[in-house]
Amino acid sequence: MNAIEVEGLVKTFPGEVEAVAGIDLAVSGDEIFGFLGPNGAGKTTTIRILTTLLRSTRGKARVNGLDVEQRAAEVRQIVGVALQEAGMDALSTGREMLVLQARLHGMSGSEPQRRAAGLLEKVGLSDAGDRRVGTYSGGMKRRLDLAHALVHGPQVLFLDEPTTGLDPASRQSIWDEVRRLNRDEGIAVFLTTQYMEEADQLCDRLAIIDHGRIVAMGTPDELKASIGADVVTVAIRPEEAQAARTALEGLDGLIDLRMDGAGLTLFVNDGSETVADVIRLLDEATVGVGAVSVSRPTLDEVFLRATGSRLEGAGDTSAARGEAAS
């Protein structure tokens, strides 16, 4: 049985804003599945529907075979959720939060305390467990949030941008734990991310979502291979973009050509053979050529090819570093 099954899922908000525009996907019980897309693509809306926090407008969604709307109470017992906003109670301690969550999940006696202690140790917060959450750093809050999601031993874990705003060490720590949960405890993981690196390294399979629609899906390697090409990037001045496009239209081995703020991205059969022709054609068209590089496709290029634009901050961890002090 699949951990998650989604058929024709649509969510329209008032004002005819279509956040999710017809999604179909299936996630098996043993995989880490990623949802990659920019802000506003529909990632969080999809997670909120799958975790019973939001009703869909149309379509079906099931978690471990349970319809998320018809059998919401049962779904809540088998899913663990860490949402994008780490949803913390600043006046309580980490331990108090976990104990309350355990009790609301029906645990009694000393079990909630034991469970909280075990989870605090697991996420490396044993020493901070009795401090008020308001004093935690961003990374500590994320780890506590993950512990929260695990209190009741879920079968399916939903993580909404679990590492956004974290420093590299904290991000690595979350990745390690997610892998361990999937590998050792058999928990299926559905996560959303804006980071190409995270999608590439962590996910067994991923879907690229843009404007509420899945535009590509597969393993990271499959997605990269689907381009079937090398990638040649050429830095040019924006005002010469049209001239460059015209000059390169007849290039041998050209599969696709995309323009963005960084310049030209050419998907070609053989980069090393083509790059000289690219420079020559641009030179003949008197287009000024800056840096030129040839590479194997990355998810960034997969995203560019699928959506026509690059994912802002994709795979770029500097933004995360900047926010890490919060």
């Binding site: 809540r76 959720v81 913390m88 309580s92 108090e96 029906g106 490396g124 008020r132 031993g153 079968q155």
Partner: protein, 268 residues
């Protein structure tokens, strides 16, 4: 992060009533913990009613006695002070914070009964206003307010006021759940003024005239004050006490229904 853990088996909800009571209790306990950890937030609820009592009693006792309407003006004005103590303008603000921070989603994601999320918070709020009302009554007792039904009557009066406080707080919780906005939730306090000023707060009904007398007739607070004052000035008279309970019930039926509808809208 390290160390393997055991997966906890999901519990079937075989005893929904027990789980509902447990959920309400644990949510209420958490709310009380939050209150105790922000003691400064308690001060207005303790200080303002006492201040009001002293100012009103100090400035109007002689006027009231000279008019012949009220013999024991301190006992007459005390219920209004207690109503100030229990009509909690901050009801629902913690819930707004939980909604804004996303913590409310965490609570919603547990299998606990949704009603427990509201009733637990309201129960804690009831405990808070009960303490504030008792404090005001205790201060009045210390300064020598005479009470015809004794300590038991005083407690009964505070209990009546606290039930009103519960009904009133439901309005704040309803707005909190509906809007998720702190500003809108705090605005519920504005509705307290017509309740408390268009009635017999400062003078008995016989002393009111014109539109104010008409407004007081339709204001449930008039009947609440009548019941509370009966306990202080006359004795254990059942009719005004039942009238007070009826008035509270009327307001509660509206505010609690609205809060439940708002809860349903938020967690659907």
């Amino acid at each position: 992060m390290s160390a393997a853990t055991t997966t906890v088996a999901v519990r079937p909800q075989a005893r929904p009533a027990r789980d509902f009571v447990r959920g309400t209790w644990y949510i209420g306990r958490r709310e009380i913990r939050l209150v105790l950890r922000t003691p400064a937030a308690l001060l207005p609820g303790l200080f303002i009613p006492v201040f009001f009592f002293f100012v009103q009693a100090g400035s109007l006792t002689r006027v009231a006695q000279a008019s012949g309407f009220v013999g024991n003006y301190k006992a007459f004005i005390l219920p209004v002070s207690i109503l100030f103590a229990v009509s909690n303008g901050g009801a629902g603000l913690n819930m707004v914070q939980d909604i804004e921070s996303g913590y409310f989603d965490k609570l919603v994601l547990t299998p606990t009964n949704r009603l427990a999320l509201l009733l637990g918070a309201m129960g804690a709020d009831f405990a808070r206003v009960l303490v504030q009302g008792l404090f005001t009554a205790f201060v009045a007792y210390l300064v020598g307010v005479h009470w015809s039904t004794g300590a038991l009557g005083l407690i009964a009066m505070v209990a009546l006021a606290s039930l009103w406080g519960l009904a009133y707080s439901a309005m704040g919780f309803g707005i909190a759940l509906k809007t998720g906005s702190a500003q809108a939730t705090q605005s519920a306090f504005v509705l307290f003024f017509p309740f408390v000023f268009l009635t017999t707060s400062f003078a008995p009904k016989e002393a009111l005239s014109g539109w104010l007398a008409t407004a007081a007739t339709y204001n449930p607070m008039t009947y609440l004050l009548s019941g509370m004052r009966t306990l202080g000035l006359e004795g254990w008279h059942l009719r005004p006490i039942l009238g007070a309970l009826l008035a509270i019930g009327l307001v509660a039926s509206i505010t609690i229904t609205a809060a439940l509808m708002a809860l349903r809208g938020r967690v659907k």
